[in-house]
Every structure is written in structure tokens, then in C-alpha cells.
Symmetry: C2
Amino acid sequence: MEPFTQRSPRVVGARRLTRRTEREKAGRFLAEGANAVSAALERERGFVHELFVTTRAGQAYPELVTAARAAGARVSPVTDRAAASLSETVTPQGVVAVCELLDRPLEGLLAPAAQLVAILVDVADPGNAGTVIRVADAAGADAVILTGDSVDPHNGKCVRASAGSLFHLPLARARDTDAALDACRTAGLRLLGADGHAETALDQLVLDVPVAWVFGNEAHGLPAEVLESVDEGVRIPIYGRAESLNLATAAAVCLYGSAMAVRRSSGK
Amino acid sequence: MEPFTQRSPRVVGARRLTRRTEREKAGRFLAEGANAVSAALERERGFVHELFVTTRAGQAYPELVTAARAAGARVSPVTDRAAASLSETVTPQGVVAVCELLDRPLEGLLAPAAQLVAILVDVADPGNAGTVIRVADAAGADAVILTGDSVDPHNGKCVRASAGSLFHLPLARARDTDAALDACRTAGLRLLGADGHAETALDQLVLDVPVAWVFGNEAHGLPAEVLESVDEGVRIPIYGRAESLNLATAAAVCLYGSAMAVRRSSGK
């Protein structure tokens, strides 16, 4: 079979998915690179619709092609240029999967036993969102919720930064931040808002309780009304002279702080 | 005074400092943006040699111009294009300081009371190095040491990612990683190597002791011989399904883990 070129209708159609509006319309997005594709193929049957693969990538990652066929996905050979046209990286790996959108409704997202959730409010940078999703996954979070004006987690840069974690965790988007906070409150989670100006410092806090950490925009932090809604604003103590931490490292300290405290107190 | 253009000899000379070899030769580097310049101007008199500033930036940050004059730095008005030619960002702020290189010899770097040090071995990405320096500063680290093939911390992207922290902390570079490990050992620090494959997990460790955390390259981790030299290899426990954390978030968890444990056990 002749590989598809960048002008083949299937490739042209898939390329539209690099735009948010087209993703919403189609209900699909692109996962690029061996790590992301591999994680996508571990999802339920039917989740990956199509795998675009170059000759070279097919030789480098034969297990992905096998897994895609086994999962019932269409496997479409493409030229290097066609693969590059679907890619948002400088050095494309030549494997791109067309997947179902990942987010679910808030309702039913959280199991009653949920212990740790990350909420991102108005997070603008897709790389940051992806990195926080990766950290949340590593810390064993039960879900991630993106609210307000947050970036689309299906954005190519977010998919890449999450290093596969996007496919591991239940994920929801909620325009209305209050609805997300309510869902967590109903699930019995304590709401902690990360805020550099908060009175309470992380090291003064009893952390071994079920918690939803709420993180704000990279430049502006959390909106005042969100800080009023959470149970407590919490700052990471700055022991040196730095003014602050960036979003991803702050999230790492908070999420792991909670995850390790819960396991310490339960004797693991 | 007419502002310097991008062809003025002073600007041409300063622009050379965007290259590592030229920085080594001149013993100087560029700090760009209001945050970095402000932190640079808090250093000792003579540390900032010259401040290039556009008309607009002079109006936006008059305090920087005043501080530069007070610190004995030459203040040089430049055109927008000249400032952009010294800048490595997409939207230059129009303030660039020519500073003394920051690194010191290993010898004498660590006070006998040093509690927390970060060592970066072969760290390649300047943004990562800068972010780890920022985290180390926030966690109250006593010093940061870059060894082996690590990126030059005076690289523009590293300066920016450190958000001023580069100017806050004692900093050394050592081609020879062993020399850095020895210096920390002599200072009474326990050497912990961050390693995703280590047997010991962070949450099994007694962390309230003086420690040097050793972090490796983004892709390859720590070299085998470094892992053999440290007192203990330590992995961050992965409670979910992520394969790993990225360098900056891993460093945040480790450095804050130590910083908070020390303060917890001393009752702050």
C-alpha cells in the first residue's frame, strides 16, 4: 500500500485536529510519539481510531503497529512529510494516533474513596498543564480537573509534556470552577488552594487527609473568589530568597506532600 | 545622549556574551529582564558592569536605573533593536545587565554548617538547570554545583528560568564530579543520588540530616560511577502509573522533602 502523503484526505483531515475547535467538533485528538501512542493503546478498545506510521517508525516500533491492529485501530502508512505535518515537534518520531477525547463529565468522575485530586484553574501554558498531569499521575492522584480558561489538555504540547500520563488518569474539564470545587467537596475532599500569599504554610499543615489541591494561573495565581471558596489557602514555605516556585514544581511539592503524608500515617 | 544601536561597539561586544566561549573569555555574562537585573543589582558593588536600557524600559523601571547608578554600573541607553539583539526572549523587556560570572571555586564554597546542596551532573537543558536553581533557592539550599557536561548556568535561558535565584545562591562548576562529591562529603553532607531505579524510596528515608542531592541528565539519569560513589541511591515513589517525573519536579520533591524534614525535626 502506497503511504499517504500530506495531501491525502485522511492526513488533511487529521491535521485539522491540531486546532482546538476542530478537536471539539470531531471529538478526537492527536497523540504523537512512541510514549504517548503506547499509553493510548493501553486504553479501552476503540479509543484509538487510527495510527499513522512512517516506514521507519514501523520498523522502530513494530509493537505499536501490532498493538494498534489488535486494538482494532486502522493502521495507515504515511510519508515522513505527512507525519511531520501532523507533528508539533521539531524531530517527529513518525507515529501519530487519532484518539477519542479524554475528558469525562464531572458527575461520576470521583469515586467515593478518592484521596487526591488536582484542579487547574485558568492554567494557560500547555506544557505546564501536561507536566502537572504527569506529577499528579506519579503522586497517585485520582483525577485531574481543568477549569475556567485553562488550556485544552488535548493540545499537542500538553500531550507531550504529560509523557503518557494524560491517558492514565480520569480527566474532566469544567468551565465553571465552582462546579469542580463542589464535586470535590461532595466527594469528601478538603479543598486546599495553592497561594504564595497565604498565611498557612505547607509545613504547618496536617496533610494526611483526602484533599483536592487547587492551582491557579502561572502569572496571576488563583482568582480571589476561588481563594474564598477553598477550605484553606496554603503557601509553600520559601526558606531561601526565591520569590516563588513555578507552577509545576509547586504542584510537585504539594501533591507529593499529600501523597507521602497519607502513606506515612497509614503505615503504607 | 543618543542611544546605542545594535551596531555600536559596546552593544556588539556585549552581544558576544550570548556565546559560552566568549563569556569564559570575558568573565562576564548577560542578565536580561527586570527580575534578573534587579536580583543582580542586589549583589556586591562592582558585580554589574553595565546596564543597557531602552527609553521605554527606563520609564517602566526607573528604580533599576537608579540602583545601577548607585552600584557604580555604567548606564547605557540603547534602541529597542539593540536591546532585542542582546535578548534571547521573544518579547524583550529592554533591560540587560553585563555581570561578573557567578561561579566560585569548589574550595571554600560550603560553610561547615551547610545543610542542603544540589549537584547537577550532565544536565543539558538550560531551562531545567535554571528551574532547579530556583527550587534549590526556594528550599533554602546552601549552594548549587554543576558538574561534568552540565550546561553553563550563565546561559540566557538558564538565567531566565532561575527567575533571579541564580544571583541568590553560591554556585560552583566542576568538570570533575568526584571533586564536587568529595567537597560535600568533607562538609559532612550525606550524598543522595536521585535514581528512578534505586531500591530505597524517598518515603522510606530519614531526611532530617544535612544532605547533598545529586541529580543526573534529563534523558540518561546519573552515570553508574556516580551512583556507586553516593551514599545512597533514592527513587521518588511512583504511586500512580507515570513512568517517572521530569528533572525539575523530581528535584522539587527531593529538595523540599529534605528542607521540610529538617525543619520539622528541629521544631523549626
